[in-house]
């Protein structure tokens, strides 16, 4: 079934469709100079995608960040905890970590007496 969408298709100008034979011409220096993402295809059938390592890692990070954001927004407890923290922050209910540590040291000393 065809996917029907009223959203304009996104065409990445950095993607280049190449034949499998292109792989044979690649070496370390060509790979490190590679600016575009290559879609490797055989007889017009896409088989694999070749992206720069940095780009791959950036994509992974973005996916991880998106997943975590969705998890927080869709989990009632997570969302409530985040909202509560943000509310406290906007109301200025923030204490320096150094003060929190100093207070706990005093408490600890009092407990030892």
């Amino acid at each position: 079934m065809p996917v029907v969408s009223n959203v304009a298709p996104y065409i990445d100008p950095n993607v280049q469709h190449v034949g499998v034979s292109k792989l044979r011409g690649l070496n370390a220096s060509k790979l490190s100079d590679m600016k575009r993402t290559l879609v490797i295809q055989d007889n017009d059938s896409p088989l694999a995608v070749l992206v720069r390592y940095e780009q791959y890692m950036a994509i992974q990070e973005q996916i991880k960040s998106l997943k975590e954001t969705i998890q927080i927004l869709t989990d009632e407890n997570e969302k409530a905890a985040m909202d509560a923290g943000l509310k406290e922050f906007s109301e200025g209910r923030v204490r320096p970590l150094s003060e929190v540590k100093a207070a706990s040291r005093v408490k600890e000393k009092d407990g030892q007496k």
Binding site: L66, M82, E108
Partner: protein
């Protein structure tokens, strides 16, 4: 390279979690149980707050996405620290400290099974927190 130290602040909720984890760790340390898991967990939290969080804290790789894009996170399982702040003012405010891992992706994806992408996005947009704009403007 020694990371440039930022001033770290804790919200009430973050402070409560910090203190709870600290008390748990101290009670075990007092009994000489240095290998107890609560001690290890608190050490992880201390390491995050004293060292890890100060290393390039506002790097985009640490940011959440969409409406939460102004919030950054550092995790060391099971500890998760969420914070925001200002690189110019060298301020980090910890919004939340969690001591349990996030539910797995599969669990929450099951909820969305059968819905198309647009429906999922519409649902997510409806869930966006209202508190964020005021929070974000605090640092701008």
């Amino acid at each position: 390279m020694t990371p440039c130290k930022h001033t770290v602040g804790l919200t009430d909720a973050a402070q409560a979690t910090y203190t709870r984890l600290q008390c748990l760790a101290q009670s075990h340390l007092a009994r000489g149980e240095t290998a107890n898991s609560h001690v290890a967990i608190f050490k992880k939290l201390e390491d995050i707050l004293e060292t890890v969080i100060h290393i390039d804290p506002f790097n985009g790789e640490r940011a959440l996405s969409g409406s939460l894009a102004q919030i950054f996170r550092v995790t060391d399982d099971p500890i998760r620290v969420y914070y925001c702040g200002s690189a110019d003012q060298k301020i980090i405010t910890v919004i939340r400290i969690a001591d349990s891992p996030l539910r797995t992706t599969n669990e929450f994806l099951a909820k969305w099974k059968g819905q198309n992408n647009e429906a999922i996005i519409s649902n997510l947009v409806r869930m966006l927190p209202d508190t964020l704009p005021s929070v974000v403007s605090k640092f701008n």
